[in-house]
């Protein structure tokens, strides 16, 4: 199996890698993992006025997991929480041409977005 060009590009030039201040009220943090492959992914969103202003990720895992989370941070920026919540793993699969054995990486990225949004809402008492 070989990685697609887009996966390799994200792997070599990850977008938005790093961390935001976890304690910041405007930051939602989602940490998710996949026990079957041992991958673990952290995705953080900085939200201001209902819009995702900034996003950061850090992933310990395979190239596909890194690319999926890197792509997710690109996509969520500028979106509202509801819009970001609608991002489906299948869109990530299509964009990165992930093979079937790597689909769980895209699921992880989708879960991470949702977990980060949930964390932000919890922090700010938004139902």
């Amino acid at each position: 199996m070989s990685y697609s060009k887009k996966v390799i590009d994200h792997y070599n030039n990850p977008r938005n890698m790093g961390s935001l201040d976890k304690a910041d009220k405007e930051v939602g943090t989602g940490v998710v993992g996949a026990p079957e492959c041992g991958d673990v992914m952290k995705l953080q969103l900085k939200i201001s006025g209902g819009i995702i202003e900034d996003a950061r990720f850090k992933t310990f895992g395979c190239g596909s997991a890194i690319a999926s989370s890197s792509l997710a941070t690109e996509w969520v920026k500028g979106k509202t929480l509801d819009e970001a919540f609608q991002i489906k793993n299948t869109e990530i699969v299509n964009e990165l041409s992930l093979p079937p054995v790597k689909i769980h990486c895209s699921v992880l990225a989708e879960d991470a977005i949702k977990a980060a949004i949930a964390d932000y809402k919890k922090k700010n008492d938004i139902a």
């Binding site: 940490v31 998710v32 993992g33 026990p35 952290k42 310990f60």
Partner: protein
């Protein structure tokens, strides 16, 4: 060298136990067949198609097994089936000895490990050949993320940075203890379910597994779903501590 025909005595133990054999010998068609050999023509017999690693349904499926007895049985059966003993036999017999040996090895590797044993039982009962679907509590991932960060830092640390290394080692040691404790707790819970299962199994009257057995299995599944992950993280920390 012992010959196959001399080893027709019944084998008792946690696996490959089967009451009565209701198939004729593949070679001479005689009905006089025991679990491993034809009593008439002495040829080796394939394992029954419904042979599973545990005892047959009649005998019950037990999760607490005597490992010494298991090992003894494994060696006993290995000697019986070893392809070396069949070099002078027909091609069919050579193949059967090879297949039986392969199955025996797989069975032994599966049954001797408590986690693999339980996973196997789950798959058997559910009639599902897929590996267990894995999941874990979110808090575990947060711990693991922090561990991975420390492991990474350790890897890229400036070799001359003694105090940095010591700090990281301290962090990792604490994490190791936490994960090992977690693993120990999970394992104890799993063994608790082993006892519960065996008790339910010994009282089972019906052909089918009972509802309490199924719910016991579900709880085991939950633990098994991330026990492998935990093992791997612990291994990662141990490796990092050697840097």
């Amino acid at each position: 060298m012992e010959t196959v025909s001399e080893k027709t005595g019944s084998v008792r133990g946690p696996f490959f136990e089967k009451k009565g054999v209701d198939r004729p010998c593949w070679s001479c068609k005689s009905e006089q067949v025991d679990l491993f050999n034809c009593i008439s023509c002495k040829t080796i017999q394939e394992f029954l198609s419904d042979t599973n690693y545990f005892a047959s349904l009649n005998q019950g499926y037990t999760l607490n097994i005597d490992l010494e007895q298991l090992e003894k049985q494994y060696y006993d059966l290995s000697r019986r089936f070893h392809p070396d003993y069949f070099q002078q036999r027909s091609k069919e017999e050579q193949e059967i000895s090879l297949e039986n040996t392969a199955l025996l090895n797989k069975a032994y590797q599966t049954l001797k490990d408590p986690q693999k044993r339980a996973s196997y039982l789950v798959r058997l009962v559910e009639g599902n050949d897929e590996p267990l679907k894995t999941q874990a509590p979110a808090s575990l991932f947060e711990d693991i993320f922090e561990i991975q960060e420390a492991v990474e830092e350790m890897r890229f640390l400036d070799p001359s940075d003694e105090s940095g290394r010591n700090n990281l080692k301290e962090t990792l040691k604490i994490a190791l203890e936490k994960m090992q404790q977690y693993q120990k707790d999970e394992r104890e819970k799993l063994y608790g379910h082993f006892n519960e299962w065996d008790q339910l199994e010994s009282g089972r009257q019906s052909q089918d597994f009972t509802d309490p057995q199924k719910s016991c299995l579900t709880q085991m599944k939950q633990i098994l779903s991330h026990s492998g992950y935990l093992d791997r993280v612990i291994q990662d920390i141990k490796t990092a501590l050697k840097f």
